[in-house]
């Protein structure tokens, strides 16, 4: 079976997921405060999370092509299809940008025209934190990512017809696009992370932050790859993806979970050690008001994959590997929750209490959807996941599952750890 059929049943399930998402978002909108903080923060959380995952898929194909890696060739269509979500991500993030442009939401403190003038720190940043940069930067940059990913994908699909090309002309052209993509993604992804996520805490800054977010996206992407491959295999597709390939993906999950922890620790430890008030406030807030998530983040995203995947056999058993992938995927989703919610809530409280409680004192008692994801957050996530998978599966069904003329396909089929 070299052709994936996007069956009606699967379509129906994914549409149900999207409906769940829409209903959750609708309910969030209704039960929200007057500036719809919860709705918009959930939207930003999921939109940036899934856009980042598709960026990482495209980026990683480019890395593999450049590094002459061969093992992944047998399932590279999965990553190619992941990266096709970038065009949807572009729309999603552009809506966020339009929101900044037209004042639909108050997620970003810097987007408040009064703050941009009166707040000394924010006014110093307006050269970068402004509505034009946000909207047009997003469109141009994500558009570039999509363009390069889709060039690589269309060359890869076109290669399927080059049965007699022993010179691998298409692959050599892919190398060019991959090489261009790497530095572009390297530079611009940082700019996007600062705009989309770091600027939620408008006063705070950390030079490591962009790489930290990237690592989180990357691990999530590997988790989703593992789960998708297990699904496709169970449905009888991609039987060529052997336990050896899964073992390698397991290694990636293991290694990059450690790498993520390394970045987490570097950022946390330096801020903790330096003890500069402007920086520590970031962790102070999370530690005081988000304690369960603060610890859960480390347990789920580090201790759990570390101890489970340390052994070789857990990387080779689909049950344990799939379980870790699922849990860690949720873990990184929570990580993004923890990056976005505290800053957004702070901004919202200030905005709402403007006038009657200028002291900035605000109620931080426990609230579902703020300190902890509630059912509506989970519903929203299910909706976005449904959308992501819908785009993924329809991209997957448009080309053969195995890139039979990839120069490395033969190595990949005989891959041994």
């Amino acid at each position: 079976m070299n052709q994936f059929t996007f069956t009606g049943r699967l379509k129906t399930s994914l549409i149900i997921m999207m409906v769940v998402g829409l209903v959750s978002m609708g309910l969030t909108w209704i039960w929200d405060d007057e500036i719809h903080t919860r709705f918009w923060s959930n939207y930003l959380h999921n939109a940036s999370f899934f856009t980042g995952i598709s960026l990482m898929a495209g980026f990683f194909i480019a890395v593999c092509i450049t590094a002459w890696a061969g093992w992944y060739a047998v399932f590279k269509r999965v990553w190619e299809s992941f990266s096709m979500f970038l065009i949807v991500g572009l729309v999603l993030m552009a809506i966020m940008g339009l929101g900044v442009y037209f004042g639909w939401h108050h997620i970003y403190h810097w987007a408040d025209p009064v703050a941009a003038v009166e707040d000394k720190i924010i006014s110093g940043k307006t050269g970068f934190l402004n509505k034009n940069w946000y909207l047009f930067g997003t469109i141009v940059i994500v558009g570039t990512w999509y363009f390069l990913s889709s060039r690589i994908r269309s060359l890869s699909i076109a290669e399927d017809n080059d049965d007699n090309d022993t010179d691998f002309a298409k692959h050599r052209r892919m190398r060019l696009y991959a090489a261009i993509f790497l530095p572009i993604a390297g530079f611009t992804s940082a700019a996007m992370v600062w705009q989309w996520i770091m600027s939620v805490d408008s006063h705070w800054y950390s030079t490591l932050f962009a790489w930290y977010c990237g690592a989180s996206w990357f691990v999530s992407m590997i988790c989703l790859t593992i789960m998708s491959l297990l699904y496709l295999r169970a449905k009888g597709y991609l039987q060529q993806v052997s336990v050896e390939h899964m073992h390698d993906l397991g290694k990636f999950l293991f290694a990059f979970s450690i790498f993520w922890t390394y970045l987490w620790f570097s950022q946390y430890m330096l801020i903790w050690y330096g003890n500069v008030g402007e920086e520590t406030i970031y962790y102070r807030t999370r530690f005081d008001h988000f304690k369960p998530l603060f610890y859960a983040n480390l347990v789920i995203n580090f201790l759990f994959p570390f101890f489970v995947l340390m052994r070789n056999d857990t990387k080779r058993k689909f049950g344990s590997l799939g379980l870790v992938a699922g849990v860690v995927f949720i873990g990184h989703w929570l990580d993004y929750f923890l990056m976005i919610k505290p800053g957004v809530m702070h901004t919202a409280h200030e905005h709402l209490s403007h006038g009657h409680d200028a002291g900035g004192h605000h109620d931080m008692s426990f609230q579902l959807g703020v300190q902890m994801p509630g059912f509506l957050e989970i519903g929203t996530m299910i909706g976005f996941l449904g959308l992501f998978l819908f785009v993924f599966f329809s991209a997957l069904s448009k080309a053969s599952l195995v890139a039979k003329n990839d120069p490395y396909i033969h190595e990949s089929l005989h891959h041994h750890v």
Partner: protein, 174 residues
Amino acid sequence: MAHTNRNVIYGLYDDEEIMLTAIKEANAQHLEIMDVYTPFPVHGLDPLLGLSESRLHIAGFIYGLLGTLTAFLGMTWIFTKDWPVVFGGKPHWSVPAFIPITFELTVLFAAIGMTFTFYIVCGLGPGVTNEVLDDRITDDKFCIAFDESEVDSAKAKSFLSSTGASEINKKILS
């Protein structure tokens, strides 16, 4: 190691693939191979010889854990009980500050422990002299050796010559 003399009959092969085929043949004929010597690690050899997977990594895990505990508990004891020091207004038990050294000692213990274990279980080390069957084994020859006390020497000889050994010799290993 038992220090009895062993009469060894061995064949030298020019290529590892010929040798691997020969070992399959030996397994089929139920000939007890004493050992196989090669100039580099040949893949696919271990299962043919029925070698069980090395347990070195388990030893490494235990050594590493020992390092983790030594470092972490040591620093905890020193800075909370033995000689508490205030630095930078941080608490005595400053877990983030303990992590770097804990990590380093974990690695150090694991690496030293495993390497020494490796040399000890292999019986190798400074000053050890093991007699070699043929000087070219560390160059380009692949050697299958039989112990004459386990295998009939005529049978071994005919096996070696029929499976393509380029040379067949005998040697007494003390």
